[in-house]
């Protein structure tokens, strides 16, 4: 094995060699730089391979042949090897990226680059304190040098500010080192660490304080990091990558090495500074408009997070390395990739990244880096955050966990807002259009290669962390692989991919349906078979439809893995996968960008609540099986219940967290709306089922939690239906109606008795069938008429009969009118209510019931009945592929109406396991509970016979009836003016709004908007701290040092 020292030697040697070359031999000089960097990377790669495969102990390198404290020693352990590999790789890739600049500036710039990488490597390897100081200063000088690479004139100011700050830091560090040496007699870090008593009191304590605070100051802590952000904004993006990925990692490792000399007291200080930096920098990133400054804030925040993790090393035990490296490496890869990407884009505005839409691969890289940063599956950050949450909750440090999750949520907010701009917004002032055409990552191969490398690294590390986590690598899960396969197949035509998708879904169902118990079988059927029926409608869109199938399959993979999950980790991973997939699906809609953002924010907020809930329930246990939730100790169980319930409520859009649903479902594409509303909402209900199955009813401060759920369900039903009544947009009407239906289902689950759950199951099945049907038919009508506003349509019954039939059957089913399956749901509801001793919420539920009639009649009247407009006189029936699934659903509804036992009987028996008494008896065609009886077949037959006879009689009597047209109506002796003025559709329920309008004041929307505005304004206010004046930055640093000192004294 080549000794690690050669990393430093090679860099120095190459730097001097460059000096010997003549000025114009730049190509050779550049080649030499790349060779040196390549050699350094190769050395650290061999060491990483050696440590990974053989159980090699860390290797000490004694420079002067004598052990410390008489000489400087370097150590090459697993940590050092991995970090040097990271630093060298980033250095090599950046050098490649800087080809033009370096060749233009000549060999001196190359030498400075080499010195910078060597300084970082040295910082990682050295165990000597003064040597650490030397490498820090070398890094500072080379940084100032490399800043000058930037074409931005403002970089000069940034460089000078950096130098001012580094001078103050070096003053502190030097004094700290000399006094630490004076007290302990050694300069070796390990030596000092063995004598904590010496450094605990008097001069020693101050020395340790100065050393550590200087190192932490180098880590860009919150108040004192103005200079870092100015560097990020103005430096060359390649250098930005080095600065955030490489130097950030190296300095954090240095802090990790030196922290023990401050003893245990320093851990909370490090955590405090880290978490403050993480929260504040994410908060300040909210109002940013410049992409590089935003990335600067994000990387400062991430380094702060890693510092907080370093501060928790006593708690994290052996998982510490896995977590810290997981976060560090994902930040490094993502930031490097994003900075390199920003190099290929002209303007610095966030919307300027919309040019990426012409380069699908670059767009894919962009979204991968964002997901890596936020820590979404299947990337390393996800596993790291899971372990971190598990251990922190185990130690009861919930406040810290809450802060971390809040910060991550804010970060996810501005990152996905940025992604939404890139996907949807038009790049303003695109000058002469982006120079970089072509489908690849970028024109210059030297810019494309680093980005590609970062992309491959992101996915590779995701795979590696999956293996290291010991929890079953997500990338090996069959459903996820199936979804990712569509990434590769995206060049195929849409119908081929659609057939593949449908085949995959149904195939997976046929393979695995025996494994599920009846309850999960229903969910599996809805997710897989239901999904493939909706996918039939996707045959309608021609062309290749880039990006649709991977997102759709990602959602379905998440849904399938959700019901197959046995332990908390699998459940949570599936939950985040389906959230991610559905986010990309919703984002495809034309005006869906703001709504998709609010969707992802609510969903991620909910997901983090679930993460906190599982972590709290696990109490530090490595594996938490789902039914383990039942064994949670008493004081914690209610809190776990509340957290999990909050998480699931964001998905079932219960009142209060429902504001994302109308926009997301209305603005999605025609075949995405049914997927998202018919299928995705059931994931929330499945979550509730798992929660209630395992934890049953809990009491928190004497309040029965399921009783609270009852009220929330009833209120959601009322508010959802009431809001749907006053909508003018057909799809928004259906979306609000979904909120109402989900309120019903949640109410059923919260009743906690046999029939209550059966009612919820019935609602889940019914809601999927008729909501998908209605969304498809409204989508078909919107495609034909070109609008979704109901008052613009009318009289389409003659032109679109099949869509009319589908909507007619749909509204009869939703309203619960007898012959169809909706009535079954209502019947079971009544019996369930009689079983339970619930009283007051029933009043709200009964009021919500008839309100459904209002918006259902409004939908069918304004769109299909009434007066036909001029421009719609020639429209054709909805496309075949959109009508086919509707007709399938009509058939299913009729079958379920006549033979509900087909579906419900097995579930009914299965529910006996949880609630033995109160089940239904299925004798022949009659279904009876212990209160009443219901005979679906005879109802259908009786109503059918009466209907048929009367219809026949009317046909016979009116056989010579004269068919007339739309203006042959009695208009009190006059003739109607125009179809638009005779079609009653606008403000359909004006009197109802006068009576009950006050119930629909948008309180929830105002509340959430208030919060987001608060955060945004706070960010905008606090960021004024960075006035841009170098001197003020120095003041900030000194104030920070004094503040930390005082806090430490106080603690």
């Amino acid at each position: 094995m080549v000794s690690a020292l050669y990393i430093l030697a090679a860099a120095l040697g190459a730097a001097f060699l460059l000096g010997l070359l003549r000025e114009e031999r730049r190509g050779l000089a550049y080649g030499l730089t790349l060779a040196a960097l390549g050699f350094m990377t190769w050395v650290s790669a061999t060491w990483v391979w050696a440590f990974a495969t053989t159980a090699l102990p860390p290797v000490e390198i004694f420079t002067a042949g004598t052990p410390p404290p008489f000489a400087i020693n370097l150590r090459m352990g697993m940590g050092e090897a991995a970090l040097t590999l990271l630093v060298n790789l980033v250095g090599l890739a950046s050098a490649l990226y800087l080809k033009e600049t370096l060749l233009q500036l000549g060999r001196r710039a190359m030498a400075v680059l080499l010195i910078a990488i060597m300084a970082l490597a040295g910082l990682i390897l050295t165990r000597d304190l003064f040597n650490l100081f030397v490498f820090m200063e070398l890094m500072a000088i080379s940084t100032a040098g490399l800043i000058l690479l930037s074409a931005d004139s403002r970089a000069l100011g940034a460089g000078f500010k950096y130098l001012i700050v580094s001078q103050v830091v070096s003053v502190l560090l030097l004094i700290g080192i000399i006094f630490a040496y004076h007290v302990t007699g050694t300069l070796n870090i390990d030596g000092m660490a063995q004598a904590p008593a010496l450094l605990a009191t008097g001069i020693g304590a101050i020395a340790a304080f100065l050393i550590l605070i200087a190192l932490i100051a180098e880590l860009k802590p919150f108040p004192a990091n103005g200079w870092a952000l100015d560097i990020y904004e103005s430096a060359h993006p390649a250098y930005g990558a080095i600065f955030s990925a490489a130097s950030g990692a190296a300095v954090i490792f240095a802090v990790d090495k030196v922290l023990p000399i401050g003893g245990a007291a320093w851990l909370p200080v490090a955590t405090g500074v880290g978490i403050a930096t993480f929260l504040f920098s994410n908060l300040l990133a909210l109002p940013q408009t410049n992409d590089r400054r935003l990335l600067g804030y994000s990387s400062v925040g991430q380094i702060g997070l890693v510092l907080a993790v370093v501060g928790q090393r006593d708690v994290l035990g052996e998982a510490y390395g896995f977590i810290a490296f997981g976060l560090l490496v994902s930040n490094a890869v993502a930031k490097a990739g994003l900075f390199w990407l920003s190099g290929t884009i002209e303007q610095r505005g966030l919307t300027a990244w919309a040019v990426l839409r012409q380069r699908p691969l670059a767009l894919f890289a962009f979204v991968t880096f964002l997901c890596v940063l936020v820590g979404l599956p299947p990337f390393p950050g996800f596993y790291a955050k899971w372990e971190l949450a598990r251990l922190l909750a185990g130690e009861g440090r919930m406040a810290l966990l809450a802060a971390i999750l809040l910060g991550t949520l804010i970060e996810a907010g501005y990152l996905f807002r940025w992604f939404g701009y890139a996907i949807k917004r038009e790049p303003e002032a695109a000058a002469e259009g982006p120079r970089m055409q072509g489908a690849g990552l970028a024109t210059g191969w030297n810019r494309a290669l680093p980005i590609a490398a970062a992309l491959v690294a992101a996915w590779g590390l995701g795979f590696l962390w999956g293996d290291l986590s010991g929890r079953g690598n997500l990338l090996l899960a069959l459903p996820l692989l199936f979804a990712l396969a569509f990434l590769v197949l995206d060049w195929l035509p849409a119908w081929v991919k659609n057939t593949l998708a449908i085949g995959g879904l149904t195939g997976f169902f046929l393979l695995t349906w025996q494994e599920y118990d009846p309850l999960r079988l229903i969910f599996a059927a809805i997710f897989l078979i239901g999904g493939s029926v909706i996918l039939l409608a996707s045959y309608e869109t021609k062309g290749r439809r880039i990006g649709f199938y991977p997102s759709a399959m990602l959602m379905y993979a998440g849904l399938v893995m959700l019901i197959r999950a046995t332990d908390a980790f699998g459940f949570f991973a599936a939950w985040e996968l389906l959230t991610l997939g559905s986010y990309f699906l919703i984002l495809r809609g034309k005006h869906s960008e703001p709504h998709a953002l609010s969707y992802i924010l609510f969903s991620l907020g909910g997901a983090f609540a679930i993460l906190a809930g599982f972590a709290l329930a696990g109490q530090g246990a490595v594996h938490l099986p789902l039914d383990g939730l039942a064994k949670v100790a008493e004081p914690l169980a209610p809190w776990v219940f509340v957290l999990l319930a909050l998480g699931f409520m964001t998905k079932t859009a219960s009142v209060g967290v429902h504001i994302w649903l109308p926009g997301a479902h209305a603005e999605a594409e025609t075949d995405v709306s049914p997927m998202v509303s018919g299928i995705l909402l059931k994931a929330g209900l499945y979550g509730f089922l798992v929660l209630l199955m395992s934890m049953g009813s809990q009491r928190l401060h004497g309040v029965e939690l399921t009783h609270v759920l009852l009220w929330i369900g009833a209120l959601s039903a009322l508010v959802g239906n009431l809001m749907a009544v006053f909508q003018e947009d057909a799809k928004r009407l259906l979306a609000y109606s979904s909120i109402g239906q989900m309120g019903y289902a949640l109410f059923g689950l919260a009743l906690m008795n046999h029939l209550g759950w059966l009612m919820a199951i019935m609602f889940i099945i019914n809601h999927y069938v008729y909501k998908s049907m209605l969304f498809l038919s409204v989508g078909g009508v919107a495609k034909r008429t070109g609008t979704r506003d109901m008052y613009r349509m009318g009289g389409l019954v003659k032109l679109m009969p099949l869509s009319f039939i589908a909507v007619l059957i749909g509204i009869i089913a939703i309203s619960g009118v007898p012959p169809l399956s909706g009535f079954g749901g209502r019947w079971i509801t009544y019996n369930a209510l009689l079983d339970s001793e619930v009283r007051l919420p029933i009043v709200i539920l009964f009021l919500a019931g008839p309100i459904a009639f209002l918006y259902l009649f409004r939908l069918i009247h304004t769109v299909f009945l009434g007066q036909l407009k001029d421009e719609h006189r020639r429209i054709k029936e909805a496309p075949f592929w959109i009508v086919l699934p509707q007709m399938i659903y009509v058939a299913v509804l009729l079958v379920v109406a006549v033979v509900p036992g087909l579906v419900l009987r097995h579930v009914d028996n299965y529910l006996d396991r949880f609630f033995p008494q109160g089940g239904l008896e299925w004798t022949g065609t009659v279904i009876s509970s212990n209160y009443g009886y219901w005979n679906p077949i005879s109802i259908m037959v009786i109503v059918g016979v009466i209907f048929a006879t009367l219809f026949a009689w009317l046909l016979f009597v009116n056989r010579r009836a004269q068919p007339v047209k739309q203006f042959n109506i009695v208009f009190s002796g006059e003739r109607p003016f125009r179809p638009e003025t005779t079609h009653f559709a606008w403000n359909f329920f004006a009197p109802y709004r006068k009576a009950l309008g006050f119930l629909t004041t948008p309180l929830a929307t105002r509340f959430w908007e208030g919060i987001t505005d608060l955060l945004h304004n706070a960010g905008d206010l606090v960021r004024r701290l960075y006035t841009g004046n170098g001197q003020t930055y120095a003041y900030h640093l000194l104030a920070f040092v004094v503040a930390v000192y005082l806090i430490r004294l106080g603690a």
Partner: protein
């Protein structure tokens, strides 16, 4: 029938081969001479009735002709009585016992019809009731003078009533123009424009006379001779010609279903 939009001398259409109307006693009434009234009339263009090109949401351009597309263009047909005489007698009995008057008061007689529903005269005893829509009405009472403008609305309501339907004219104004015999804008003989079953003379007949008139109408119905609707269908062209002769801004289909 297309409405020319430019102004022109209004000439009545020549009526060929239609035998003259008969009055109650069967005497032929004098035919209306064409050209009796001729004056220049400038027609206001009906924007909403103009033929126009419309572009559908899918970009297909097509033509919309309101009078053809919005209105049914079929003419009235003669509706035969029930096949069996016994059934027709039952229906006639029921028709006579349940006469639903259309709430359409024209002229000064309408005020006479209100007392019918009061305790003093109580038309409910005879099965007479008011219906707000022509669809559900059987009897159309023209109570008094009928200006040309109201005639246009009366024709629409009459044609929207279902066969069999009856018309009762109140007062002398419907018989021969009454005291408005030389007015420029009232119609002189209701019979030229709508098939009338019963005239109740008097200027204006009191409610007792109305009740008596209704009794006569009932006798006619029971006798099966109140076939005004079929008469209107048979001699539709003659009626329509007379109506168009007097109504100049004819902007509606020939038969308003």
């Amino acid at each position: 029938m297309k409405v020319e939009l430019e102004s022109r001398i209004v000439e009545g259409p020549e009526v060929v081969g239609v035998e003259p109307a008969l009055d109650l006693q069967g005497k032929a009434l004098p035919a209306v001479q064409p050209g009796a009234y001729s004056r220049t009339v400038t027609l206001m263009p009906r924007a909403e009735l103009e033929r126009r090109m419309v572009k559908g949401p899918d970009g297909v351009e097509f033509e919309v002709e309101p009078l053809r597309d919005y209105y049914c263009e079929a003419g009235p047909t003669v509706m035969p009585a029930a096949y069996l005489k016994i059934v027709e007698d039952l229906f006639n009995w029921a028709r006579s016992r349940s006469i639903w008057i259309l709430g359409f008061g024209t002229g000064c007689g309408a005020i006479e019809m209100r007392p019918l529903m009061t305790p003093r005269f109580d038309a409910y005893r005879f099965g007479i009731q008011w219906r707000p829509t022509p669809r559900q009405a059987n009897l159309f009472v023209i109570s008094g003078y009928l200006s040309v403008k109201t005639l246009k609305r009366a024709i629409r309501c009459y044609e929207q009533m279902q066969n069999p339907k009856y018309v009762v004219g109140l007062g002398s104004c419907t018989i021969n123009g009454g005291m408005y015999w030389d007015s420029y804008n009232t119609i002189k003989r209701l019979d030229d424009y709508l098939p009338v079953d019963v005239y109740i003379a008097g200027c204006m007949p009191r409610p007792e006379a109305l009740l008596q008139g209704f009794e006569d109408l009932k006798k006619l119905i029971r006798a099966g001779k109140a076939e005004g609707a079929n008469q209107y269908a048979e001699r539709f062209d003659w009626y329509k010609a007379n109506q168009k002769q007097i109504i100049h801004d004819w902007d509606m289909p020939d038969y308003n279903w």
